[in-house]
Symmetry: C2
Subunit: 189 residues, 2 copies
């Protein structure tokens, strides 16, 4: 049930068995259906999720109702509407399951309690932030001023799993191009 998360924690330097058990105990199992909205647009995010099985997507809708995806999470990833989780404002985005998922949820209070109490968990949080920041910067540079073809190539190089596991429609909304354009580009390569 918590196999994947436990393995992940065990790989941390300086994490005693007892500390790991204490952290693990904070995570409660949550099962979702396919296409279930886990965090709604107006909602304030209360949990951090770990994906034991399945996949999640973070996306938002612009004024005309067009989707824009910013993150896809798979087995072994942490995932939540982080800006909202951090400063407790309405998420202004959706967290959605793409398949049936086995998630593990930790409440915000428990999360920051563990961050304060256990150095190894604080380091996990720091690494999530560092990695999130770096990925976002790369994506900004990787997309800015490139045409559709180059963006697709960028994703193939930087997140090869993505185009394989995600529908065309969603990948297009991640790339910021229309599904037809993505389809045409795929045909050329």
């Amino acid at each position: 049930m918590k196999r994947t998360l436990k393995d992940k924690l065990k790989n941390c330097i300086g994490a005693s068995d007892m500390a790991i058990e204490e952290v693990l105990a904070c995570f409660k199992p949550v099962k979702t259906k396919r296409n279930q909205i886990i965090i709604d647009f107006e909602e304030t995010c209360k949990y951090y999720y770990f994906i034991e099985k399945g996949s999640l997507r973070l996306y938002t809708l612009n004024v005309e109702g067009k989707e824009s995806s910013r993150y896809f999470g798979f087995e072994g990833n942490f995932c939540t509407a982080l800006p909202s989780f951090i400063d407790q404002q309405p998420a202004m985005e959706y967290l959605q399951s793409l398949e049936k998922c086995d998630l593990l949820a930790i409440s915000r209070a428990d999360f920051f309690k563990m961050v304060d109490k256990h150095g190894f968990f604080a380091r996990i949080y720091l690494e999530i932030l560092e990695l999130g920041f770096i990925t976002a910067q790369k994506r900004i540079y990787g997309f800015q001023g490139f045409d559709a073809m180059e963006k697709v190539k960028w994703v193939i190089n930087n997140q090869p799993k993505l185009l394989l596991r995600i529908s065309n429609k969603m990948a297009a909304s991640y790339l910021g191009i229309s599904p037809s354009t993505l389809s045409r580009i795929k045909a050329k390569l």
Copy 2:
């Protein structure tokens, strides 16, 4: 000389005068000319900079030599090629002064020493990362699938100082539109 930084540190909760002095002592003054390259493309970033006076820009060049800007820092901001500072890879971007600047530089070693030693400084680092992450996410959502006009409006709302202090050319390279388009849009508003 370190007036602005000192004031900033004094506003931190749980920062004793002694701890503040110890942190301050790690920052060495650096003066720059206008348009000086502070971190070069291939360089690995060794310092974190605090801006006492002046302004900085982070940008990169794509294959065709086109500029893409991702951050503008002003008085009171911290600024560095953070991805490179974190994982000690070549920056793949430039840090440039936009005016004569008074900077304060802390070495990577000292920086992380202070993060480990002083809770209040660790919190500053965490806040930089959290804010950087949140800003990057907002920018991704704010730019994705919007036309040039809407992007300009977005920046006016979210970073009002930017268009006032930055040249058209650089603002355009931040927005991912051409200077001519930015010019035309400004004429309409």
